[in-house]
Amino acid sequence: MSQHRRMKTALPHSSAQFDPALIARYDVAGPRYTSYPAAPQFHGRFGEADLRAAIRASNGDPIPRRLSVYVHVPFCLSPCFYCGCTRVITRDVSKADVYLDRLYREIELIAPQFDRDRTLAQLHFGGGTPNFLDERRMADLLDSLATNFSFDRSPQREFGIEIDPRQCDPDYVRMLARHGFNRISVGIQDFDPDVQKAVNRIQSVEQTRAVLDTARECGFRSTSVDLIYGLPKQTTLQFARTLDQVIALAPDRVACYAYAHLPERFKAQRQIVAADLPDAPTRLKLLGLSVEKLTAAGYRYIGMDHFARPGDDLAQAQDAGTLQRNFQGYSTHGDCDLIGLGMSSISHVGSTFSQNARDLPTYYAALDAGRLPVVRGLTLDDDDLIRADAIQQLMCHGVLDIASFERRHQLDFNEYFAAELARLRDIECDGLIEVGADRLHVTSRGRFLLRIIAMCFDAHLARSEAAGTRYSKAL
């Protein structure tokens, strides 16, 4: 990172938090650190037996962690061109039955391995489009989960679902509430008609409002919306209008993701005309605009791509020091063992990560043979655990307290991280972080470049770059 080295100048804290020039210089590719080590490090030598052993060991903890279950529903009615998720496009709802059959088998195989007193405190449905499932199928799926796991019955439990409002009426939302969902995350991306046409996703403000209003009426604890900047045809003028419309919808959380154009990896993205994509300075302005408008409207910048109202659980968890980063971005339930169900889902049990088959035939074949569909993963070693903790502290709380870190991991911080501290001093000159004797502190400008800071601690990065892994850009 020496090419970024500048004259060391004292940076006043009152300086604008969002510094476009600075952020542009750090527009390099890197993992998003929803896990450390990042998913490209997972390997095929990790299999079903390793996952079973990890579950057994996790049951043996004096106070076993509670459970968080992610369910992947891979179906969509039509393809959004920006999408990089693992999904299947079909208009035939009965297609889901073949999949659900295997999903039930997976639930029945994995759930009994967890001791029954470990409650399921967090449930998240993602996709694809979870609301591709009609009421009957959704009810059956929840039944299967409730039968095989011990649902937490307290109001603190977090049952969330991602919703495509184009195929979700108020009745569906009320049905979700009856079945215990209390969090909803609604995909928007952009309300501008030109952008919507360019990405093949036509969705009105009214449809979106109907879903969010019904969710609030039904007592959902948290409503969230997703936006994407960097989409084709996006301009600052029109995105400003989208942001105003989003703010008027008053969600509790807003996620504003950077579009990563990787058409060689994601087939759907080949439909996008590269010439329509905003250039780097425009992307930067779109991000700046989002930060400016959302913070002015009272949202707190949590980190990476997430904003939340100060009263929301996410902001509260950040205040309480319990915020965690996981595959859904940020989470208030990071102290759980995570079980990923369905095609391509990732589990995080004890000090292991594991991922299910990423295509339907392999996923089906494993379950038909009575095996868990794990195809790759890894076991974190001591060094991974130490680095994961450092990255977690900095990405969730912006602070790493050196004394308590040394106590937790039985190490001498300055000695252990001598090389990393040298790298941090480079970016300290740019005012992203303050490296003190007793703590590391991410500055208000550094909050926008958490990936860059985390990358300083990533021991796998150099190796994976040499192996040709491609990450999306930080910006």
């Binding site: 043996g60 004096p62 106070i63 039985q410 190490l411 001498d412 911080f413 300055n414």
Partner: protein, 253 residues
Amino acid sequence: MKDTQHPGRRPPANTIVADDGDDLRFCSTCAFGSVCLPAGVDKTALRELHMLVEHAGPYRAGEHVFRSGEPFAAIFAVRGGVVKTRQLDDDGREQVLGFHLPGEMIGLNAIHAEKYPCDAIALDTVFVCRFSFPALATLATKMPGVQQQLFRLLSADIGKASLLAGDYSADERLAAFLLLLADRFAARGFSAKAFRLEMSRGDIANYLRLAAETVSRVLRRLQDQKLIHVEGRDVELLDRASLQDLARNILHQ
């Protein structure tokens, strides 16, 4: 032990393998160590004693140090790691007899029947010292120190077994369990405040004759009351006085 140590890493608290013994001295943590303490011990005899000590291991987690029914040939001192002793009843149900920390002896309860009455299983990576019993018995006739130490170890072993019998609540049992474990770690020079529970909660529950859920429920409560802090398998005793108060009926029996 890891052969590659990252710079700046300190060895974890209670996972050190004792290895500071030599021809004339036992390892500092060893339960047999006090044999050498009396002044004027015959150095030839002492050397003879050390000659019959064999280092064995590493045993990986789940491996047997000895099996129930095997002919008794030796007693063992745990040098590193934790060993669980257990019996299986006719229906194959397990009964955990105890957990043995570095410096402690196992196999003493085999002397009488001349075969091991229980399984000894490594809970993590375990190293032991093996004392051939026939040789040790012969030596004991020549070295009164050795004999006395054997008697001391035997009586301590018998005392330990009765400690958790009796009609005590789950809270009392767990508080006593943690405190006694802490004392045993402290006696071997490890931290009495923070240690790692290598045994699973199932093993703890079995040993204390409680349900596994109960073990976790009580520990969670003790944690909520700020008496302990649990993170994974690591336990820290935050309020010893309150724990002692809770366990007083067991500890003062």
